[in-house]
């Protein structure tokens, strides 16, 4: 796996205007791709992190009572890991994705300080909708 920085413009997502917090619209051909793109879109809100050569890999399993809950729990698990371990992730390898569960490998870097400004992903008006190309959702995050 190429662990070089993966801060390309996030495909399948765009930031949406929100007065107090921040929001992004994310798309995917299926739920796994939507979840992966949502993770990229969230970490991209903070731009490029400081340099670090200390590569790390983590494995997580996340559950949820439906796909919206799974999406929110997944993003919040990333925030929890980033903030408690002072890490930044730029590759997300998802497997075993169902509407209630996912397993993922997170690849990234250990930093000297936490760089995320996002406190939490919210359920505000959240709906994972079917589109002609797959799935779409708009996520509001608290900052």
């Amino acid at each position: 796996m190429d662990l070089q920085r993966n801060l390309r413009p996030v495909m399948g997502s765009e930031e949406v205007e929100h007065t107090a917090d921040r929001a992004f619209r994310v798309r995917g051909r299926d739920l796994a791709e939507l979840l992966e793109n949502a993770a990229h879109a969230m970490v991209a809100l903070d731009g490029e992190p400081p340099d670090s050569e200390r590569f790390i890999r983590r494995v997580v399993e996340v559950g949820g009572s439906d796909r919206e809950t799974l999406l929110v729990n997944w993003l919040n698990e990333i925030l929890y890991l980033e903030q408690t371990h002072r890490e930044f992730y730029d590759h997300f390898l998802l497997s075993n994705v169902t509407e209630n569960h996912l397993r993922a490998q997170l690849y990234g870097r250990q930093l000297n300080r936490s760089v995320t400004s996002v406190k939490a992903a919210t359920f505000h008006n959240l709906e994972v909708r079917g589109t002609s190309e797959g799935l779409e959702a708009t996520v509001v995050v608290d900052v």
Binding site: A20, V72, T122
Partner: protein, 483 residues
């Protein structure tokens, strides 16, 4: 599309959307605003969010929004909702992720002119001693037992460790400790996020600010609070850090299914709620109380670090640089309070999301020395603009469950603010106006540009003229430490 025509104007500053506007409304929705602030609120989804809160089971009288209302998630920021107990609900989203985000004000007998030669040194010391940033770590690394003690005792834990004075606790909402906290309902994730974050500022709109008391409107009450013209005051704005964020996340996520089990349907999933008296409602309330106590302790430790910073720089240079606490208020909280509704005393769960408790005189919740004047209310402005010290009123008790506004309120998105403002230029502009800025992030600074906010003086004018707070003093910034 909502417009001014959907409101009934009840008085000069009170506007109401009747309960008949939408089938799912249980009570009317009221906004405190002048015409300009009403129109500002109509420019985003704030009013729809206000109407959505009127659908919460058990809500009494009306859903309320303050003039600093702006679009949030679930509740609007500036929202107040009271539910009758039983069978009313508690909503974690109605408190928000930063549980007990609030403001503390310290005041000195020293004038700003006396400390001005040392201002930059003080600002640098504050920046060094009060760590900032979302994941910042503080000077205390607590064991699990110690952290649980903090979650149960709040500021009282700090008193026992020499980080607080008895007078600090007397001048803190709930005396620095919410009862009912039970750390066994706080997840392992939340414990881990909070373990090393005591005494840290966080990011976003959180700050420490050194102010000059620019104007005193009521000399008698201001003197009672230790506030005198031209003197130094220091504000702290922050909350329960990652621990509070995690507790909110845990329960909002869990209640997605639980609310359904109770047959509760809502227009927005972020409003999710459960009956306060249910097992799940009690577990959230007790976990929320833990986060509230953590936030009180956090602002207390920051106050201690600020006092140390002043001493570090001013000892031997200035005679009286001590900082006494004026008050500490929460503006993201759910509280169990008794209020009179239609002549009956009722027990309510009052959610204040971006709104401040503003109890009037003779409230049993106030310390003896504030009984005759009411509760101090702290209203921070946007960076580089004024802040206000207000006092609660009897009219607030009658009209708004003893609540008033909490700040200026945003009008511009963070993304737009960053496109329009360069952080470094803003810092230079503020410096030319005599305001020093220490900030960890220039883009974060740009997001908090004054142009992104409403005029706090206009917001305060509305609450004062509506009678839900009285003006005591205005503060002007001289140095700001940003997360």
């Amino acid at each position: 599309m909502l417009s001014q025509d959907n409101f009934v104007r009840l008085s000069e500053f009170v506007w109401e959307i009747p309960r008949t506007y939408r089938d799912d409304m249980r009570v009317p929705a009221r906004l405190y605003a002048d015409e300009e602030l009403l129109n500002a609120a109509l420019s985003d989804n704030s009013i729809v969010q206000l109407i959505n809160t009127s659908t919460l089971p058990g809500i009494v009288q009306h859903a309320i929004a303050m003039p600093d209302i702006h679009q949030g998630y679930g509740f609007p920021i500036g929202g107040v909702v009271a539910t009758r107990l039983p069978p009313g609900v508690i909503s974690p989203g109605g408190v928000g992720y930063d549980i007990n985000c609030g403001v503390r004000l310290l005041a000195s007998r020293t004038t700003v002119e006396e400390i001005r030669p040392f201002l930059e040194e003080i600002a640098v010391a504050l920046y060094a001693n009060c760590p900032s940033g979302v994941g910042a770590r503080g000077c205390l690394l607590l064991t699990t037992t110690e952290l649980d003690e903090v979650l149960h005792a709040g500021s009282r834990w700090m008193l026992g460790r020499g980080y607080a004075r008895k007078e600090d606790l007397d001048r803190t909402e709930e005396f620095g400790r919410i009862s009912g906290a039970n750390a066994s309902y706080v997840s392992q994730h939340a414990h881990e996020r909070g373990r090393n974050q005591l005494g840290t500022l966080g990011a976003g709109n959180h700050f420490i600010e050194i102010d000059r008391v620019a104007e005193v409107y009521d000399q008698t009450i201001a003197a009672r609070l230790g506030i005198y013209p031209d003197n130094v005051a220091v504000q702290i704005h922050c909350g329960s850090r990652g621990l509070g964020h995690q507790i909110c996340e845990d329960y909002v996520s869990r209640f997605q299914k639980t609310a359904h089990d109770y047959g509760i349907t809502l227009p927005d999933r972020e409003l999710v709620c459960v009956p306060f008296d249910s097992q799940e409602g009690q577990e959230y309330f007790r976990a929320m109380a833990c986060a509230a106590n953590f936030a009180f302790a956090n602002r207390q430790l920051l106050a201690h670090s600020i006092r140390q910073s002043f001493e570090q720089v001013l000892a031997g240079r200035i005679k009286d640089f001590d900082l006494c606490q004026v008050y500490d208020v929460a503006h993201n909280m759910a509280k169990i309070e008794e209020h009179e509704i239609d002549g009956q005393r009722l027990q309510l769960c009052v959610h204040r999301k971006g709104a401040t408790r503003a109890f009037g005189p003779k409230s049993a919740a106030l310390p003896a020395d504030l009984q005759d004047i009411g509760q101090p209310v702290l209203i921070p402005g946007s960076m580089g603009t004024a802040s206000y010290v207000l006092i609660g009123t009897s009219k607030a008790m009658q009209q708004t469950f003893g609540s008033t506004c909490h700040g200026a309120g945003r009008v511009m998105s963070r993304a737009k603010a960053k496109r329009m403002v360069r952080g470094a230029e803003l810092r230079q502009q503020l410096k030319s106006r005599g305001i020093l800025i220490c900030a960890g992030s220039m883009s974060g600074l740009a997001e908090e540009a004054p142009a992104a906010y409403k005029d706090v003086s206009q917001v305060v004018e509305v609450v004062v003229r509506a009678g839900i707070a009285n003006r005591i003093a205005r503060l002007e910034p001289v140095a700001v430490i940003k997360g």
